[in-house]
Subunit: 259 residues, 2 copies
């Protein structure tokens, strides 16, 4: 995640970056809802143009309206926040078969042609990789904080090192690293199983000299609630996973307040 | 996965496509090793330029050599196959901060400037999405079969529908859909837990009218062996996950023999 200051609007835009499938979008959706519940004015920009999952995870539907006078796109409001996503502009299942320059144009639209109004924080959900979307964002928007999400697997951590290095090269400050899918508690016997490995997140954070923001368990509730369109922090704030995500939202909130 | 015929070389190039984090690279590495063990001459092209995980999963190291006479890049040989990856050309942790046109150039190099020799099958490990790499490949190479990999989660299946539609639009035949991370068997009590949901892969395959190729369990052995650089089909062919992957390799092999 990253925070940025627009030249005129006062908008922070945190975003998350890592490899695919580590739960970036799920974490972003939960953080956005949790930060909005704290009273912050939160926007959520789904920058994953090819695989926009935010609408499903927040249960958003309907097409965003265009304001006739200003020509601006109206973000969709839900769960106390405003969101925009390629998924809201397309029929379900429609692929976006675009080369990079089109991606960059769409990101520009989402940043500057959406009627965000006054926001305290704009969260960006990034696609995997270090390509056109990332380059465009670092050039167009002074991002003020990236949150790195990973699983404990060594292969995932390879990609983390590359992501962190990209943010360093582009001078985006790092909020910290959170380890997702850290352990699974068996429904039957309660045994905690480290399916994707153990301790990799903390070791990597120390090695890369970025703050370690703890673990989020591999809890089927997180996935169930994402599939149902109501993030776990809202539906089950007392579950272990809900608690972990609320604690993370607290850390991210503090980062931006002290930044 | 997709098979293609080069104009002069007889190369089939299967590849996999889906969202990030569903285990595409792990499955591709296992399939490549299993198909090579059947006696096929297998090449593996890691087309994920931003997040090249194939070298780690196959334990590859060292830089590929360039043949002075022909100027061709020598692929790295291991586990009975030949492989090329951006990860072999860079120091670990170095990000590739490139826009789309550079990606397309690199894919072209990997296809046509690597000394693949005679191959029966070239497997392509694709990055997530429906962007530059996918467009470039469908334009440059007559791909002859795509294998769709997904988890059972509804959110992952959204991305599957988009991927399948892209392959249909670009006239790439679909080998079928395999559901990965289908269930986890608790180490302690043996209970099978459907962490990412149940039955979504089969339902989606039926709905999209593509062959359903079964399940691969969420087995920590798969991840451990990927982290260790020796795929599970080689290290533990008798494990439930090894068996599932070998069965999948059989299905994929049959597809190409009858194609």
């Amino acid at each position: 995640m990253t925070v940025r200051q627009f030249p005129t609007l006062k908008i922070h835009s945190p975003y998350q970056a890592a490899r695919g499938g580590v739960g970036k979008s799920t974490l972003t959706a939960n953080l956005a809802v949790a930060l909005a519940a704290k009273g912050l004015r939160v926007g959520l920009l789904d920058a994953d143009i090819y695989g926009p999952n935010i609408p499903g995870m927040l249960g958003l539907s309907g097409r965003p309206e265009i304001d006739e006078a200003s020509g601006k796109i109206q973000p969709v409001a839900a769960h106390g926040l405003k969101a925009i996503s390629m998924g809201l502009l397309l029929d379900p299942g429609t692929p976006v078969i675009w080369r990079g320059p089109m991606l960059a144009k769409m990101i520009h639209q989402f940043l500057f042609n959406v009627d965000w109004g006054q926001l305290d924080l704009l969260l960006l959900d990034l696609p995997p990789g270090t390509g056109d979307v990332q380059i465009t964002l670092t050039q167009m928007a002074p991002l003020t904080g990236a949150l790195i999400v990973t699983t404990p697997s060594a292969i995932a951590l390879e990609d983390v090192r590359r992501g962190v290095e990209m943010f360093r090269q582009t001078e985006v400050p790092l909020i910290g690293l959170v380890e997702n899918m850290s352990y699974f508690s068996c429904d039957k016997c309660g045994s905690a199983e480290a399916i994707f490995g153990e301790g990799g997140g903390e070791t990597t954070a120390r090695h890369l000299e970025i703050p370690y923001l703890g673990q989020v368990p591999l809890d089927p509730l997180i996935r169930l609630q994402a599939d149902a369109g109501e993030p776990v922090v809202q539906a089950h704030p007392d579950a272990a996973s809900g608690q972990a995500l609320l604690r993370l939202a607290g850390d991210v909130g503090n980062y931006f307040q002290s930044a």
